[in-house]
């Protein structure tokens, strides 16, 4: 094993599938200048994996991150040259195919074949696993058309693959912070039950996992919370010390900023009980966390610890959730809001009890309203001059859902005066169920891809 560079550096270049694809090069340049590290890409949201599984059902070589080439292609050579490992969940529903694609990118670029490890075991497809899911989810499981069922794996397999010399680790469903915990585990050789260190590294991973959300992205409020260069915000880099504590910074020569406020917002993002942040690796405890600004877009995070990991793993089951119908029409000028309200009332009366509708008046009351329309009904007409009626409904039957689109379109001739700009869409929905399962039924592992 080559001597590790100290401390452990982990940079993150995407926060979700669909994020900016130009984040990685500045992160890689910064890591290279500091002696190497790990580059992670987080690309899986709750439903991304189900969409990937649907793609794989159509094409056995699809089902991984669609932008894989845009993410990896520009930096693969520099990562290999500078000893920067790549760790990501961009394998989605088909990690082996993603690994093959990366091998082909390397071949096309004239690079030596990278050592690529593939994590497996997150998909719960076997009859025994499905039977257990049915037991956990109850009779509802029999009524749904399951697309995907995946357990959230932890950092162990990532760490093992890196220790074995993997330069690229391709995973499907792993817990987001585990993408960071894995490299730290491999780097420092912590014991698997070193809960305080795992808790700290997990929160470093939590700060990284949403990409620019810790470097000034999703933070700016003009006049209150300014962020310089938001159009070219740099992605974050965590420096994790031997104790697991981290300093969060960002790629050199980029926009955005890292200060106590950006770090605090991300630290609490999607956290429920701060004393019990659950991952497959540890129960992290940030209830006593503190942050210290070090200047130069660097913030130290301290006061975090951890407790014994949960006994069971979380599983997400994605299934077909009927059809979402959405239709909109605009009203402007004299009595616009009154005309939009009348239009919504017409649609509601004509649909009747066929399905539940959601009616919004964009420009008057939409985002903050409630499904039942109580807030909208209770707010007097404010004489909005530029209002867009939005009607949404969900139904298992496609033809029934389509009625909403036709009723809104019909407002062109049969509705109030001056309606314009009808847009309609009908989309299949994905729904999810969650449960936990014993670790023993999840056969997590990794294999090093044969190089050619």
């Amino acid at each position: 094993m080559t001597a590790p560079h100290f401390p452990c550096l982990v940079g993150c270049a995407t926060g979700f599938s669909g994020d900016r694809t130009d984040g990685a090069p500045p992160v890689v340049r910064t890591l290279a200048a500091r002696g190497g590290g790990t580059l992670i890409f987080e690309t899986l949201a709750e439903r991304t994996l189900a969409l990937a599984q649907l793609a794989r059902n159509q094409d056995p070589e699809a089902g991984y991150e669609p932008l894989l080439e845009d993410l990896v292609g520009p930096v693969l050579g520099d990562c290999m040259k500078h000893g920067i490992n790549i760790v990501s969940n961009f394998g989605a529903a088909n990690p082996p195919a993603a690994a093959r694609r990366i091998a082909s990118i390397a071949a096309r670029q004239g690079l030596p074949a990278p050592r690529i490890a593939v994590i497996h075991g997150d998909a719960l497809d076997s009859p025994e696993q499905r039977a257990l899911l049915r037991e956990r989810l109850g009779a509802e499981f029999d009524r749904i058309d399951v697309i995907s069922a995946n357990a959230y794996l932890g950092a162990q397999e990532i760490a093992q693959a890196l220790r074995a010399g993997a330069q690229v680790v391709v995973a499907g469903r792993v817990a987001d912070p585990s993408l960071t915990v894995g490299p730290a585990l491999a780097h420092y050789d912590w014991s698997d039950d070193d809960w305080p260190r795992l808790g700290r590294a997990t929160m470093a991973g939590h700060l990284l996992e949403c990409g620019t959300q810790v470097t000034g992205g999703y933070f700016a409020v003009p006049g209150l919370k300014e962020v310089p260069g938001l159009h070219e915000t740099g992605f974050p880099i965590a420096q994790i010390d031997a104790d697991g504590a981290c300093v969060i910074g960002k790629a050199e020569n980029t926009g955005g900023k890292v200060d106590a406020r950006t770090v605090k917002e991300q630290l609490l993002y999607e956290v429920h009980d701060p004393a019990r942040y659950l991952t497959p690796d540890v129960v992290a405890d940030l209830s006593q966390a503190g942050v210290t600004e070090l200047g130069g877009d660097r913030v130290a995070v301290h006061g975090i610890t951890g407790h014994a990991r949960p006994r069971e793993l979380k599983v997400n089951v994605c299934y077909r959730g009927g059809w979402l119908a959405e239709a909109e029409i605009s009203y402007a000028g004299l009595q616009a809001e009154a005309r939009a309200r009348l239009a919504g009332d017409i649609v509601a009366r004509r649909i009747g009890s066929a399905m539940r509708l959601r009616i919004d008046l964009i420009g008057a009351m939409s985002i903050l309203a409630d499904d039942d329309g109580a807030l909208l009904a209770g707010v007097p007409d404010r004489h909005g001059q530029d209002v867009r009626l939005r009607v949404a409904a969900r139904h298992d039957d496609r033809a029934t859902a389509e009625r909403v689109l036709r009723e809104v379109t019909a407002l062109y001739c049969c509705g109030p005066a001056g309606g314009g700009g009808v847009r309609t869409s009908l989309r299949p929905r994905l729904a999810t169920l969650s449960c936990t399962v014993p670790r023993e039924i999840v056969a997590a592992g990794w294999t090093m891809q044969e190089s050619r």
Partner: protein, 129 residues
């Protein structure tokens, strides 16, 4: 010492971000400084937040305090119209809820209110008169 108080929207005392998991929304509330944090502790209780979001019919509202960050975390269960996978809401993640919380008025000492940051209120477009 003065006891005069004024009423200000929360955004002058704190900043906030919303996260979601299923039908549960978490809304952080992070004080500008220690003095603002004391106001949050006293004023932004579970009951008041539950009341503020009552129209979303929360099943439960829990407040967690983080003294080291001068922050608190509110967990609101059942406020996302079913959550991102089933809601018909335009903002199915409830991302905008943090700014709804920041509009809530709280009582603060007058001298604190005088030095809190503010943005000039945007006037309504003059289409009507």
């Amino acid at each position: 010492m003065t006891t005069a108080t004024g009423s200000v929207p929360l955004y002058r005392l704190a900043h906030s971000r919303t996260g979601d998991k299923g039908d549960i929304s978490n809304i952080s509330l992070i004080a500008w400084d220690a003095e603002c944090y004391q106001v949050l502790l006293a004023e932004v209780t579970e009951a008041r937040v539950a009341q503020w979001f009552a129209y979303r019919k929360p099943v439960r509202v829990t407040r967690y305090v983080l003294p080291g960050l001068q922050a608190m975390n509110f967990v609101l269960e059942g406020v996302l119209d079913g959550g991102v996978n089933s809601a018909l809401n335009l903002d199915a993640h409830g991302k905008s809820l943090s700014f709804h919380l920041l509009a809530q008025q709280v009582a603060v000492p007058a001298e604190l209110a005088a030095r809190l940051p503010d943005v000039s209120a945007v006037g309504e477009a003059d289409f009507t008169s």
